[in-house]
């Protein structure tokens, strides 16, 4: 006899007749529970109660109990057993809600954190450019002395050119113009905003770092926490990253350039997200492709370890990468002849 399971019960059939049935309870929650078990590949009690008389089965989950066959079970109709579409719909919605709830895993939060990080980076850049321009009316030379957080901090704590110089123990002439108290007050407000968004960015980075140690410690060690999290976000999940070929990982985030290459025959991209990795962007242009390739290969291995075994292999991987990068530097010390080397690609304008 053939053992098959439908959403409302398990059935033993012979020649398109049901010989025995083990129906599910007529309760959406109970049905959802069983659908969930089937999804996980588990065997149901209802199936076990019928399994001893089965010769053949229809489902991969049940191969222990018989040979697997294709079987059209459409003659077993839910309404013949008193199960309605409404009941089924309630069950599937209960199941769906569970799946959706379960799906907010740590990768989802990491993805959001990476996006927040990027938003903060561009906000900071925007505000900071404005601050330099505005405060620069009064004291353009300050940006030669201080940058980043220190620049904004000097303005919030000391304000005017005179006071800043006093605090820094400096004396210099300035070509900037004088400002009034109320102008300065407004500039200081902007400077505090810059400081705030810088510190928010750092906090998010710390959070990403911490979460990555949990979720994907090997990837985090090889790619760096933010780049690692970005790769996971682009891949969709750690599992998906782990299942990707390394060529795909190398080009994650370069989809647009790849598309342009296919469509318009522009040069193929050599790296996507990985460009931001110091090993790649600190390499001279002609070595970058090879370095990115090597890095991607190791990141794949790191992702597999994180997703499946949980072993810490970051030490070995790091050593292998360093060796490989050294080889690349030795093999290609000089730019290839006649190949046009662009003056080092796009300039990174970001704070990293």
């Amino acid at each position: 006899m053939i053992l098959t399971t439908k959403w409302f019960g398990s059935f033993l059939c012979e020649e398109n007749k049901v010989k025995r049935a083990a129906l599910f309870p007529k309760d959406p929650k109970e049905i959802a529970l069983r659908l969930e078990k089937i999804k996980k590949g588990e065997v149901l009690d209802e199936e076990l109660s019928l399994a001893s008389s089965a010769r053949q089965v229809t489902d991969r989950r049940l191969v222990e109990y018989g040979r697997r066959v294709k079987f059209d079970s459409s003659f077993i109709k839910p309404e013949d057993y008193g199960f309605s579409l409404d009941l089924y719909r309630e069950a599937t919605i209960a199941l769906a809600k569970q799946a959706v709830k379960a799906s907010v895993g740590p990768d989802v939060h990491l993805g959001q954190a990476v996006r927040a990080h990027d938003d903060l980076v561009s906000t900071t850049n925007l505000l900071s450019e404005r601050l330099h321009e505005w405060y620069g009316l009064h004291f353009p030379e300050l940006e030669n002395v201080l940058s980043g957080d220190a620049y904004a901090k000097a303005i919030t704590s000391h304000g005017s050119r005179g006071d800043v110089l006093k605090a820094l123990n400096l004396e210099m002439d300035s070509i900037g113009s004088e400002v009034q108290e109320q102008d300065l007050a407004s500039i200081t407000t902007l400077a505090s905003a810059v400081k705030e968004s810088l510190s928010a960015r750092e906090k998010v980075e710390r959070y990403i770092n911490l979460r990555m140690k949990d979720v994907a410690p090997n990837v985090s060690a090889i790619a760096g926490p933010v780049i690692g999290a970005r790769l996971i976000m682009h891949a969709g999940s750690l599992k998906r990253l782990a299942s990707m070929p390394s060529g795909t990982v190398q080009l994650l985030g370069a989809e647009k350039a790849m598309f342009r290459h296919l469509k318009e025959g522009s040069r193929p991209p050599k790296h996507g997200i990985l460009f931001a990795h110091p090993l790649v962007h600190n390499s001279p242009g002609w070595q970058r492709g090879a370095v990115a390739r090597a890095l991607a290969a190791k990141i794949c291995m790191a992702a597999r370890a994180d997703a499946y075994t949980g072993n810490d292999i970051s030490g070995e991987l790091k050593a292998q990468i360093e060796r490989r990068v050294e080889e690349i530097r030795k093999q290609h010390p000089n730019p290839p002849k006649r190949a046009r080397v662009r003056p080092s690609g796009r300039k990174q304008k970001r704070w990293r």
């Binding site: 959403w7 089924y88 769906a96 959706v100 799906s103 469509k263």
Partner: protein
């Protein structure tokens, strides 16, 4: 003032005021994607936007041979957040729409739509693996597929076969099969490979006016 909304000739449960298509809202008072609602006599109409839904585009472009009636059971592959699936659910009011979607992000919205409709069943699964959701599907007669994947034709063929559906519509995105080839060449290849799988292609409609480089394949087993 009531607009003059009348049934589209040759189609069941699809309406038009001469410009816009409508279906009768099976979940009165609610919109799914911000579409306009119109009161009719004893019913509420839901405007059906052809730029958001390729099935509406197909109808506006003249296809009348849909084989969907009020009790058809439909397997909908690639339901996303339920835009088109909800109109199908309006059309097959006494039937059922089994909505398969693989992306958890879209699935979240889809579940919310299914909750407010009596005949929509949400299934979080990969359409590449019909055996994984076969036990959740009952008596499907029609397969509707809108999945922008490289192997979309293969997915369609395997689902038509697995559920022994009699009719189907494949919404094909030429660019996900090959960006470099002319869409028309892709379409004729697809037509050939559907026929080789014993599916009869009744109509191929290019949807460019509403969805660039897309075509609808109206198919019979």
């Amino acid at each position: 003032m009531l607009p003059d909304i009348a049934a589209v000739k040759g189609l069941r449960s699809v309406y038009s005021d001469g410009h816009t298509l409508y279906t009768i809202n099976a979940s009165p008072g609610r919109t799914v994607y911000g579409e306009r609602l119109e009161r009719g006599e004893g019913v509420e109409f839901r405007a059906w936007n052809p730029t958001r839904s390729k099935l509406a585009a197909l109808i506006l472009l003249g296809c009348r041979d849909l084989r969907l009636d009020d009790s058809t059971k439909v397997l909908y592959l690639g339901a996303a957040s339920g835009t088109t699936a909800s109109h199908v659910s309006d059309i097959v009011v006494n039937g059922c729409v089994f909505c398969v979607e693989v992306s958890e992000r879209s699935f979240r919205d889809l579940v919310a739509v299914c909750e407010s409709r009596k005949n929509m069943i949400p299934i979080l699964a990969d359409a590449n693996q019909p055996e994984e959701y076969a036990h959740m599907i009952e008596g499907v007669e029609f397969v509707y597929q809108d999945i922008a994947q490289r192997n979309q034709v293969d997915i369609f063929v395997r689902n038509m076969a697995a559920f022994e559906a009699e009719h189907g519509i494949l919404m094909l995105k030429s660019r996900s099969i090959d960006v470099n080839r002319r869409p028309r060449d892709v379409y004729s290849d697809v037509k050939r490979s559907l026929s080789s799988k014993l599916l009869k292609v009744r109509e191929v409609v290019e949807l460019d006016r509403f969805a660039k480089d897309h075509a609808a394949f109206v198919v019979e087993a």
